[in-house]
């Protein structure tokens, strides 16, 4: 959960976009591709966790507003 709190969504997503752009280049080395892929997976996990947390918060707000 600490990870979720600490991440900056926009910054993390920008980092992920950079990796995507890297993969789209023609001179990609396979060794680097492995490293980049691992990094991308890690970032995706963080973003997923962040979004899941956000969803929980949204659900709580909806529940509260329905009650009131």
């Amino acid at each position: 959960m600490k990870q979720i709190k600490d991440i900056d969504y926009q910054k993390t997503k920008a980092e992920l976009d950079e990796i995507l752009v890297w993969f789209e280049r023609s001179d990609v080395s396979v060794d680097d591709a492995f490293i980049k892929y691992k990094k991308a997976e890690q970032l995706l996990e963080q973003l997923d966790a962040y979004l899941n947390d956000t969803k929980t918060k949204i659900d709580q707000i909806i529940k509260k507003s329905t009650k009131s």
Binding site: A33, L51, I61, S65, S68
Partner: protein, 377 residues
């Protein structure tokens, strides 16, 4: 006095005569027809009061006049008989009152016309009465039913009012002077009343005549305190009422006009409170709905943003997964590595070179037996 030895001077004779007149008659009241009426130097008034057989010379100041008078009017005068050292006998008049239906009406109409010409009855002169007034000055006879009615209704309707009463005769010869004195007293001092009420109950024309007296009417007109006058009944019209800031038909009506009814006021306030509460409730409810709608809009936008981000991340995941080198190996492809790194061209190989072949689940060493390079156009 029948003494031939006693010789008087004219001055002595005048003095003795006046002394005798004063002792014998004092103050006399004479009623008769007005004749030879004239005003000298705007100050002195000379006239005769007469009947079929006699006439009496009269002298007064203009301050004794109740209003405009005309020859032939029936009047009642009060004064002291005097023998003047130079002008002879006359009645020193203190008060003059038109009397009898016709004379009173005539005097009323004359004064009304004169005051109207002066603009004393103009609507533009009328001042608004404070409602309800915190302090009321009342000029009336405290022995009258009018006083009792006024006070009863006033205090019943609005018990918070401060009442200051100036007792005055409201009919008879002394009434005008007493009313004027009361007006003067009520208008002096620092803590003035907010409204000055002058009232009396019904009566015949003679009873009500003090309120058509020019001096009284002018005193009301010059009152610093706004005035409310109620004289007699609805049908009676006095000049005091015409000159007042407001007129009431009866003493009771004066009290009703002056203050609101406490019970009605409480009911009105309760009604107002109820309406205010309803308005407040409606405003609150409206605002609550507005906030609820805003919340729904924000939640929808938040949810949409979440869905957008989620789908964006999902797309990126699919792309990244497609770029995963391991997934290529899983499809049956292999990586060929030389000591220089991953082999990317057959041109970099020679026969008998040793290479490492990597598959998705392991690797093996291999030796090159032949090299066939594709011809690329």
């Amino acid at each position: 006095m029948n003494n031939p030895q006693l010789i008087l001077t004219p001055t002595d004779f005048v003095a003795i005569t006046n002394q005798i007149l004063e002792q014998a008659l004092g103050f006399v009241y004479i009623q008769g027809e007005l004749a030879n009426f004239r005003i000298a130097k705007n100050r002195w008034v000379y006239f005769d009061i007469k009947d079929e057989l006699s006439k009496v010379s009269c002298f007064a100041t203009v301050y004794a006049l109740p209003g405009p008078l005309e020859e032939g009017m029936l009047i009642k005068v009060a004064g002291q008989p005097r023998l003047h050292p130079q002008f002879g006998f006359s009645l020193n008049v203190q008060s003059i009152q038109p009397t009898g239906e016709g004379a009173i009406k005539k005097a009323f109409e004359l004064l009304k016309a004169a005051l109207n010409t002066e603009g004393l009855f103009d609507e533009s002169r009328k001042r608004a009465l404070p409602y309800p007034p915190p302090k009321v000055a009342l000029i009336t006879s405290t022995e009258s039913a009018a006083y009792a009615d006024f006070v009863k209704i006033l205090t019943y309707r609005w018990p918070f009012v401060r009442l200051e009463v100036y007792d005055s005769q409201v009919q008879g010869e002394v009434a005008p002077a007493q009313i004027i004195a009361a007006l003067s007293l009520a208008n002096s001092g620092a803590d003035l009343a907010d409204v000055l009420v002058i009232t009396r109950g019904g009566g015949n024309a003679d009873d009500l005549s003090a309120f058509d007296d020019e001096r009284v009417v002018r005193a009301i007109a010059s009152s610093r305190i706004p005035t409310l006058v109620a004289i007699g009944h609805e049908i009676d019209e006095s000049l005091s009422e015409l000159v007042a800031d407001k007129r009431a038909s009866t003493p009771s009506n004066a009290a009703e006009l002056l203050v609101p009814d406490k019970i009605n006021e409480i009911a009105n306030l309760n009604q107002l409170k109820k309406r205010l509460y309803q308005n407040l409730q409606a405003t609150l409810s409206l605002e609550k709905n507005r906030i609820a709608n805003l919340r729904q809009i924000f939640i929808s936008r938040l949810d949409a943003l979440y869905n957008l981000s989620k789908s964006e991340i999902c797309n990126i995941r699919q792309l990244i997964t497609a770029y995963n080198p391991e997934s290529v190996l899983k499809r049956g492809y292999a990586l060929v590595k030389t000591p220089e790194g991953i082999l990317q061209s057959a041109k970099d190989l020679k026969v008998k070179d040793r290479v490492l072949v990597e598959l998705c689940d392991g690797e093996f060493d291999a030796s090159v037996k032949a090299v066939r390079v594709k011809l690329v156009e």
